[in-house]
């Protein structure tokens, strides 16, 4: 069948020849180089029996199966895990050691720092004490002041009460004095009445009544104040 269609074959052969002739200057030198090294290598390949190749085949397949089952590439190999564990441990150790180093540094600085702090404390402490004393004094003074003001208020209240009483007493005294004076005047008037006219006596009675009414008013007024 193939040989019966020479035209098709001819056309195929022409296409292949065209491709080959186009690629020959590029690819053929490469091919020649390949041929050179392969000729060299093939000298050392055994040509008598296939047993060597069969054993090689079995070895490679077995080795491939073994290696790729042990290290399938899914997870990092064990030695890497160990390394990671070691690294983690070291990191932890370093983290634990770090504060110790800081403590050491602090210890080395301690004497200097202590001196400085002591100085500062010495300078600051009396100030603080003074401030506290002042504060206490102020508080005590404030308390005292408050107490005094309270007492004063109380005294004032008391005083006010006493003054009012005094005023009332004075008023009463004055009233009494006035009454005495009135009595005296009455006596004098009586003495004079015996000597003077009855019209004049009537006028004197009126004035007496007025004074009495005024005295009554003053008394009632004082009483109301005391009640308040």
């Amino acid at each position: 069948m193939i040989l019966q269609s020479p035209e098709l074959l001819q056309s195929l052969a022409d296409i292949i020849a065209a491709i080959l002739s186009f690629l020959r200057p590029i690819v053929s030198p490469m091919g020649e180089f390949m041929v050179a090294w392969m000729n060299f290598v093939l000298q050392y390949f055994p040509t008598e029996t296939l047993t060597i190749y069969i054993t090689l085949f079995i070895i490679i397949v077995a080795l491939g199966a073994l290696v790729n089952t042990i290290w399938p590439g899914d997870r990092p190999p064990k030695y890497l895990d160990k390394l990671k564990d070691k690294l983690k441990r070291k990191e932890k150790e370093v983290k634990v050691k770090e504060p110790k180093i800081k403590k050491k540094e602090k210890v080395t600085r301690e004497p200097e720092e202590l001196e400085e702090t002591e100085k500062i404390v010495k300078e600051v402490e009396p100030k603080k004490d003074e401030e506290k004393r002042i504060e206490r004094k102020e508080i005590i003074e404030e308390e005292k002041f408050e107490e005094e003001t309270l007492e004063e208020d109380l005294e004032l209240e008391e005083d006010l009460e006493t003054e009012e009483e005094k005023e009332s007493i004075e008023v009463e005294k004055k009233a009494e004095e006035l009454i005495e004076e009135e009595k005296k005047t009455e006596e004098e008037v009586e003495e004079k009445v015996d000597k003077k006219l009855p019209s004049k006596i009537k006028e004197e009675d009126k004035t007496e009544k007025r004074i009495k009414a005024w005295l009554n008013q003053v008394k009632s007024h004082n009483k109301e104040k005391n009640k308040e």
């Binding site: 020959r24 690819v27 390949f45 040509t47 190749y53 090689l56 085949f57 790729n68 089952t69 290290w71």
Partner: protein, 170 residues
């Protein structure tokens, strides 16, 4: 991928290479050993027929074994790169073995009713040279991959394990 899928993949590719490098060439050469065209038997006048078969089966076995190792290895691993390169080199030798065994100049004798009429010689040397050139380029590519896998080994590993860890986390 896990170990088992990798091995399955390796076995599949090995089977493919066994078929393409051993079974098909062997059957082809056996078939054309004695072929009749229009009653005229064209006998493969190859004293080296056995030699051809020998080289085909020898390099075919090696190529198939390397294919198994190559395709069952994890991606971008150095062993994969190594065996890919070895496989290409063996492929070159395999193809060249045709020439070495005399298969590039296949000589057919035309026999008509016991008498020998003449012979046909098919010279495929140019074709083989072309193949060799193509394989040369492939070797360069595989060599580059191999070097890349070695140089960027840590990066490739980090990437791979990151992807796996992310997948585990999901």
């Amino acid at each position: 991928m896990g170990a088992f899928p990798n091995l399955v993949k390796g076995f599949i590719y090995m089977a493919v290479y066994v078929v393409t490098t051993i079974v098909i060439p062997f059957s082809t050469f056996t078939f054309i050993k004695e072929i009749q065209v229009l009653g005229v038997s064209i006998v493969l006048e190859q004293l080296e027929y056995e030699r051809i078969v020998f080289w085909i089966s020898a390099f075919g076995l090696l190529i198939s074994a390397c294919a198994f190792f190559n395709y069952s290895s994890p991606k971008q691993s150095i062993r994969k790169g190594t065996f890919a390169l070895v496989q290409i080199l063996l492929n070159c030798l395999y193809i060249w073995s045709y020439k070495f065994s005399g298969a590039t100049e296949v000589k057919f004798e035309i026999v008509f009713e016991i008498t020998n009429v003449g012979f046909i010689i098919i010279d495929v040397q140019n074709m083989v040279l072309l193949y060799m050139g193509v394989y040369f380029l492939t070797i360069i590519l595989k060599g580059y991959d191999f070097v890349d896998f070695i140089i960027n080994r840590d990066k490739i590993r980090e990437k791979r394990y990151k992807i796996i860890e992310e997948a585990d986390n999901i």
